[in-house]
């Protein structure tokens, strides 16, 4: 038992404060408003009614022959206008590195999501009081969405919670919204996952180390409690 107590003491010295951080951030997740925590305060559902003029569509095989080889061709709509989305390299998930070409489905010309188009897409997905104040291109890393691996437009809105909308530059897909509420909640996720490098992951070395210490702490405490119980130390009259 002496060793169990020693383990408990030393494990608690190592992981005690982190354990408190885990518990406090955990109780925050328990209480948080998920709409706000995930940046969806001013997220609107996009619904653009538009009619597809099938007569005008360029033949898909013509499009496929014109561009580099494709894994798939998909007839999609962006802002109610039809496009063929060619996927040249398909990753397992949309947030991994994918290579696309967008082609105007009526003319067969390549289409690029520029600043103005990205701003328009963002505006339609937004139902807050703000106006667009700035649009910038993020080539490699989105601090608000660290797991995303494709370049994106960041569209700033001048509302009271600093909303930003992220639009994937090569597909026009809305990655998500972010605002003060999400950034605040993300601090707790960072603390809970010990993800101080903002890698969007909890599989990091510091977390592994403290998880081992936490295991020692909990298991030694558990054994200690059983021992106390067996020795009759859990006695209300004492």
């Amino acid at each position: 038992m002496k060793w169990v107590r020693k383990f408990h003491k030393w494990a608690s010295i190592v992981v005690g404060i982190q354990f408190l951080v885990w518990l406090v951030s955990g109780i925050y997740f328990n209480l948080m408003d998920t709409t706000k925590a995930f940046g969806r305060t001013y997220k609107a559902h996009i619904n653009v009614e538009s009619r597809l003029d099938r007569e005008r569509l360029v033949d898909p095989s013509t499009v496929l022959l014109k561009y580099q080889p494709s894994v798939s061709l998909e007839l999609i709509k962006i802002l109610g206008y039809p496009f063929y989305q060619l996927t040249h390299e398909k990753a397992l998930y949309s947030h991994f590195k994918n290579i696309y070409t967008l082609v105007d489905a009526y003319t067969g010309k390549q289409f690029l999501i520029d600043k103005l188009v990205a701003a328009k897409i963002a505006e339609l997905s937004y139902n807050g009081p703000g106006k667009i104040s700035k649009v910038i291109m993020l080539e490699s890393f989105i601090p608000d969405y660290p797991k995303q691996q494709n370049p994106a437009w960041q569209i700033y809105f001048d509302d009271e919670i600093d909303t930003s909308v992220y639009v994937e530059a090569n597909s026009g897909r809305i990655i998500g919204h972010s605002d003060e509420h999400k950034r605040f909640a993300d601090i707790f996720f960072m603390l809970h996952f010990m993800d101080y490098g903002n890698n969007g992951s909890f599989n990091n070395i510091q977390n592994v180390f403290f998880a081992i210490a936490a295991l020692w702490l909990a298991l030694s405490g558990f054994i200690w409690s059983i021992h106390l119980g067996l020795k009759g130390k859990y006695n209300i009259r004492r």
Binding site: K9, G16, V24, I27, T62, V71, L73, V208, A214, A218
Partner: protein, 260 residues
Amino acid sequence: MTIKRKLKQYTNRKKALKASRKIHKWLMLFIGIQFVIWSVTGAYMVFFDIDYIHGDSLVVNHQDKINPHDIQYSLSTLFSEYPNAENIRLATFLQQTVYRFVVNTENVPVQFLMDARSGELISPIPESKAIEAAYYYSTLGMVKSVVLITDNPPFELSPRALPAWRINFDNFGAPSIYISKSTGELVGKRHTFWRLFDWMFRFHIMDYGDAEDVGNWLLFVVAFFAILGCLLGLVMIWLLVVKPFKNKAVSNKNKPRGVF
């Protein structure tokens, strides 16, 4: 400081230590087991790389390219035959160029898979074709069993992916591959490590019902007392390790003995 004040301070510390120890001990009688659960499940989730958990290594991400000359059944023919076709895609299925599209009949979306050469429907995918596809999408050895799931999907399969073939492999971690019966696409992949992860997560957030809900009251109550227990533990560290009893004015006899 006078000896008297020092003694008083010492007694206060001793009282604080005794109370902390007692409450910590009693709290842990009730919630200690959850600390074990949190630590074990948390460690599991942290130790295994999330991409491994998600079964990314179970599947082969083929990059088969469409041969444009294969598309002999044109899009306009498709529209004349299926006037309500939506979400139209051209891709490959087992290296064959195919159309995939959705037709909404009475608000129920039905998906189709069609040979782009002949315009013949490939869907619904028969069992033999599903097995062939499963072998193509993965390198998991021999198929052990095949199940068709049309309703009440297991927890690990999204209801949107129905109907689907579940192909179980005889391999490490009992991997399963889900193939959509209507599109032939890979709609799911699971192995024991992911299934375990889901259970670990549920136990971690104390979701002992059937919804994956982190906002449950049980978690709140236990976490609240857990914070109290943790704080008392930290008080003990403070009194015994950070600022231990070093007071020479107090005789050795009165010093707390042993570790806490």
